[in-house]
């Protein structure tokens, strides 16, 4: 960020939204503010929002650096275009906010870090059961015909969270963030009295703290088997862990008002870690593995196997921001310079 231009008093603060590798759910959060979105529009000017407004990249490029009060970027970064846009918006923003799990932690697209670019492309363009591609055509980044050329952005080997590409000021967690979280963040960002850089704008306690099932959880909880939601008739009142369902509430930040447990489903960890945790998955794994009710090695192994996909379970939203970041592939996959 270079010298931010002073904002004239009579002008409304400017706000922008952008999406990278995401599903659009975070955009939905903005719309889910319902009629309150009118209050937001009354207070700010939305100067860029590809999903809803017809401003283009060159419009953003023409803005002075630092002239947008807050830019909300959702989605992980996995193409050269997304990286360029993140860098451009970082330059134009006073405050850059990572909106949602993908921007904050890498999110669901981040699970592609279990594979390579080649693996991802092969899966999408050849191997998936619904794909018919007998000529094995793959997207090219550059295509020329009759003197004309069209190009596509490069796909990276590794999916990244937003802060692995540009400097991020604040985080709004969630897949997607709840309208409440976003709504509460707006006055904070507009007030000018900003929290410390890097703050996650959500409560800093574990989800169990605000779960309505909290009181049904016994002091000592031990399990002989982990169950998947489809394998059990889930009681609507009792703590999901007590019922054997892997619920990541103990390791996950609160703020969503326990939406999933209230919908009779376990927490899958989209709000990410609290501020004391560096690697969400490791901590979630730790909390779940510790309640295995056995001291016998063979039996422990048997119980551990009842979690069918540990990486997908514990790192569902956070693989790129984990300490290991991606699967170690055969040589020369991540260092293809």
């Amino acid at each position: 960020m270079t010298d931010p231009a002073p904002i004239p008093k009579h002008e409304k603060p400017k706000v922008a939204f952008y999406w990278c590798a995401s599903c659009g759910g975070c955009e939905e959060t903005v719309l889910d503010l319902d009629e309150r979105v009118l209050d937001v529009v009354a207070a700010v000017d939305i100067v860029f929002w590809p999903v809803a407004l017809d401003f283009k990249r060159h419009d953003v490029e023409a803005m002075p650096d630092g002239s947008i009060l807050a830019v909300f970027v959702n989605g992980a970064v996995r193409t050269s275009e997304q990286r360029e846009m993140a860098q451009l918006l970082r330059k134009k923003a006073k405050v850059l906010v990572a909106l949602g799990s993908c921007a904050q932690l890498g999110g669901i697209p981040g699970l592609a870090n279990l594979s390579s670019r080649q693996g991802v492309l092969a899966s999408a363009y050849c191997e998936s059961p619904s794909t018919v591609n007998p000529e094995k055509l793959f997207p090219k980044t550059l295509y020329k015909e009759n003197g004309f050329s069209v190009s596509l952005p490069e796909l990276f080997e590794t999916v990244r969270s937003l802060d692995q590409v540009v400097d991020v000021d604040y985080y709004l967690p969630g897949c997607p963030p709840t309208p409440k979280i976003l709504w509460e963040a707006v006055p904070v960002l507009l007030s000018g009295i900003l929290p410390p850089k890097g703050t996650v704008l959500a409560p800093d306690r574990a989800l169990c703290d605000e779960c309505p099932r909290k009181d049904t959880r016994p002091e000592k909880l031990m399990l002989k088997e982990f169950k998947r939601p489809q394998d059990v008739m889930i009681d609507e009142q009792t703590c999901l862990l007590v019922q054997g369902v892997v619920c990541l509430g103990p390791a996950t930040r609160s703020g969503c008002e326990a939406l999933c447990p209230q919908g009779n489903m376990p927490c899958t960890g989209c709000f990410g870690p609290t501020s004391r945790v560096r690697d969400y998955g490791a901590k979630a794994l730790s909390s779940i593995a510790s309640i295995i009710d056995s001291n016998d090695e063979a039996e422990i192994e048997k119980i551990v196997q009842t979690v069918p996909d540990p990486v997908g379970t514990f790192y569902r939203y956070s693989l790129p921001s984990s300490m290991l970041r991606r699967r170690k592939m055969e040589e020369s996959v991540t260092s293809d310079e």
Partner: protein, 159 residues
């Protein structure tokens, strides 16, 4: 002396020397390492010992951090089952290790690079055997070099 130094330099420049981070519990395995020292038991110099109060204190984050920062292997040493100074810290370690092992496996880190061993305060010889065996196995696997790979990540250029 000079000769052994030259030998050492040759080994570290030509051959790969595994770096292993070893978390040893205060009450058993750390004492075994101590005993190995005072009894002049010789074993491979590849482990960097970190003393924790209990093997149950070893947060999975410690293990991942070690790998991410350049360890080729991680060894956790604790008291034998039933002997934990804190009753069942070692069982908690065992449960977490079993789950973490599956995550590491999925992440492409070979099983031999991560090990949990019960080594009591009197088992200096066992410590020697475990360390030597682990060093040999990791030497055969070659370096993990995650920290180097991580360095490449931010500047990844796709060709």
């Amino acid at each position: 002396m000079a000769e052994s130094k030259a030998e050492l330099v040759q080994v570290t420049t030509n051959g790969f020397e595994p770096k292993i981070v070893a978390f040893f519990c205060n009450w058993c395995t750390y004492l075994a390492a101590d005993l190995a020292g005072t009894s002049r038991v010789k074993y491979a110099p590849n482990i960097r010992v970190i003393r924790t109060m209990c093997s149950g204190r070893v947060d999975p984050q410690f293990v991942l951090d070690a790998f991410a920062r350049g360890a080729d292997g991680v060894l956790i040493g604790g008291c034998h089952p039933g002997d934990c100074h804190y009753q069942e810290g070692n069982y908690k370690a065992l449960r977490r290790v079993r789950m973490l092992r599956r995550v590491l496996h999925e992440m492409g880190i070979e099983d031999e690079r991560f090990r949990l061993e019960w080594i009591s305060a009197s088992e200096a010889e066992r410590l020697k055997a475990v360390v030597n065996d682990m060093v040999e196995k990791i030497r055969a696997l070659g370096p993990l070099r995650l920290e180097v790979k991580h360095e490449d990540l931010p500047e990844e250029v796709v060709v």
